[in-house]
Point group: C2
Chain length 191, copies 2
DNA sequence: CCTACCGATCGGTAGG
DNA sequence: CCTACCGATCGGTAGG
């Protein structure tokens, strides 16, 4: 075999790349075909619609974040340790899957109602992990008693979700430094 | 006069609304016409292209944020006071101009290269205000000596720029409470 | 602001 | 995965 044909996975990966760069509505099936070296119409042997591709990319994003949270919550240690693990895991997901993360964060609203509702549910569930851990940290005395765990979780997630907007793998701040900076900022804000 | 005709301002305002909701590429000129009660083709007596509308909305956003920063920096008091004014002013801009702010934050990347560069420049200039004030606060002893003013300004702006994603005017957290929460969080993180 | 269009492009299908 | 299409919609124009 000299040149392998594209698989569905290839198509979904390329879709993630283009949706992240140009947006869902800014990407045509012909654009996507060109990215893979084939015609737009040929994509329909891999997927049944353009929306299908968005569903696949966004649900992959949801799975990655959910898996990260599950792992962080299962870790030993204090609530403060688990919050650090949540932050570190989130940064890993974004850094290692930047196109999927960007599409998940910016293009999920282009999903049809049914799928969008599912994603919003997953997002709420993920945010609840942060909220709970912060509340536990307050109860355990790791964090100040006068912080509002709801607002604090929104603020921390805001920082995490914005990373895709400025993070560059070749930049001055690498993954470890970013985790350290953000955890320092957060610890200080909550402590 | 019974029913006034639409002005260019009306058209730009409606464009901001739709671009914020559905994205630039998700909004057609016919959609926009319908929003205003006229045909898509009639919009061309007010603007010369769809891109023109995006330019107008985004540059209005840039002006609002720049004016807010200018006012905050001119205020009396310590660097810490000026940072609080920057945060409070930013929240005002978002809360009072949510569609413009959303379009500015999410759709500026759909601008053609020339205008996009200008917006990126304005954005950098705005971020520099935060960076400088934080650096001054460190120098004045208002903030801890071990915070990195670059990273801290990115983190604070991340929180500010995410407000459009979750803030609801009818929600539990009103403008004043939001300013108080965020300023408390920030002071604690930096102090 | 409407009528009446234009060429280009869109997502998608049938059949191989 | 390509050929050869389809109807719908796109941004935009001429002329009133």
């Amino acid at each position: 075999m000299v040149t392998a044909r594209n698989t569905r996975r290839d198509v979904v990966a390329a879709a993630g790349r283009l949706f992240a760069e140009r947006g869902y509505h800014g990407t045509s099936m012909r654009d996507l075909g060109k990215e893979l070296g084939l015609l737009g119409s040929s994509l329909y042997s891999h997927v049944s619609s353009k929306q299908d591709l968005l569903v696949d990319v966004v649900e992959e994003g949801a799975r990655l974040f959910e898996a990260s949270a599950e792992k962080a919550l299962a870790a030993e240690g204090s609530a403060s340790d688990r919050l650090e693990a949540l932050i570190s895991g989130h940064i890993d997901v974004v850094v290692d899957n930047i196109e999927v993360a960007r599409t998940f964060l910016n293009e999920a609203r282009m999903l049809d109602l049914e799928h969008r509702s599912r994603v919003i549910g997953a997002r709420d569930h993920y945010e609840a992990a942060f909220r709970t851990v912060i509340a536990e940290g307050i109860a355990e005395g790791d964090f100040r008693g006068d912080v509002d765990h709801k607002t604090a979780s929104i603020f921390i997630l805001s920082i995490l979700n914005a990373i895709e907007r400025w993070y560059r793998p070749t930049g001055a701040l690498d993954r470890d430094a970013l985790v350290a900076e953000l955890w320092g900022f957060t610890r200080s804000a909550l402590g």
